[in-house]
């Protein structure tokens, strides 16, 4: 894992040797971010981070990070989550546009 990169919580727990199934069942803190309950939770690691601490219940692990790339990176799993989120936003916008078109049509009829 690298600094200046975005990962899912599941990827980080796996890298730390923790059980991903404990998400939502035990208190999980990754890189200081507490209350993580979803494996799809996206976490960006800052460019100057050297390591991150992962805490699951009473277990604690430290992941040492590789040197960052100049351009921030996104893992394949994180990209999949972003694709899903993007589809949800696109659907929301399409629905909004449909609703606005209906209102215009109704206004024109009146």
């Amino acid at each position: 894992m690298k600094a200046n990169a975005k990962y899912t919580a599941a990827e980080i727990l796996t890298e730390a040797g923790m059980d991903v199934a404990k998400l939502g069942k035990m208190a999980v803190t990754i890189g200081g971010i507490a209350g993580i309950v979803s494996p799809d939770h996206l976490i960006k690691l800052p460019a100057d981070a050297m390591s991150i601490v992962v805490i699951v219940g009473e277990e604690k692990a430290t992941i040492n990070l590789a040197e960052p790339s100049d351009d921030s990176e996104i893992s394949e799993d994180a990209k999949t989550v972003l694709e899903e989120n993007g589809k949800i936003e696109t659907t929301r916008i399409e629905k909004q546009e449909e609703d606005e078109a209906k209102v215009e049509e109704e206004t024109e009829k009146q």
């Binding site: 890189g31 100057d48 990209k79």
Partner: protein
């Protein structure tokens, strides 16, 4: 102490001060955008109307489509033709926001959106606004706090950089000023 610094990126970054405007324009500073089209250039305008970013070749992120790219990806024009939005680099994003703190903090609940300048839940007046975080495959129609762009939580550190693509389109003729950009986050 917590500090926010906004930049319009370019060959050199232009700092966007609290009293400055982010100007979305036609091809040049101060030029109009056709109603329904998106901006061809982005600038930093001072409170007295000067072009603060004139020497910095500022970046521009023009909305092309919501889902016309590869596999339903959005599309953007960075000035050299249409590409998928998720191919944009950190340096290609028009906006860079740096949040720093004297001690290491995490940032969560981070949102970015445009509003009418008065009420954060209200959409900007007469403007369609699109935003995306670097790596997002689709634009977010980020108008009003309820429709805000969600920025990824960032693990602990003293300096956090956020790269955001922005694009705007006028819905009617005339200068649009009931249109402000807002960034909100929780740090702990």
């Amino acid at each position: 102490m917590a500090t926010f610094i906004w930049y319009l990126q370019g060959t050199s970054p232009t700092t966007i001060d609290a009293t400055d405007y982010v100007q979305f324009a036609g091809g040049t500073f101060g030029s109009a955008i056709i109603v329904g089209a998106y901006q061809d250039s982005t600038h930093v305008e001072s409170s007295v109307g000067a072009d603060d970013s004139s020497g910095n070749t500022p970046k521009n992120n023009k909305f092309i489509s919501q889902s016309g790219g590869t596999g339903g990806d959005s599309q953007v024009d960075l000035g050299a033709g249409t590409v998928d939005l998720d191919t944009i680099t950190d340096a290609g994003c028009a906006l860079k926001i740096n949040f720093s703190h004297g001690t290491s903090v995490v940032t969560t609940g981070h949102i970015f959106y445009a509003y009418d300048g008065t009420t954060t839940t209200a959409v900007p007046t007469g403007v369609t606004f699109q935003a995306a975080e670097k790596g997002d495959p689709n634009w977010t129609n980020a108008e009003g706090s309820a429709a805000a762009l969600t920025i990824t939580d960032e693990a602990t550190g003293t300096s956090h950089d956020y790269y955001i693509a922005v694009s705007a389109s006028p819905e009617s003729v005339g200068l649009k000023t009931a249109f402000k950009l807002r960034d909100e986050l929780t740090y702990s």
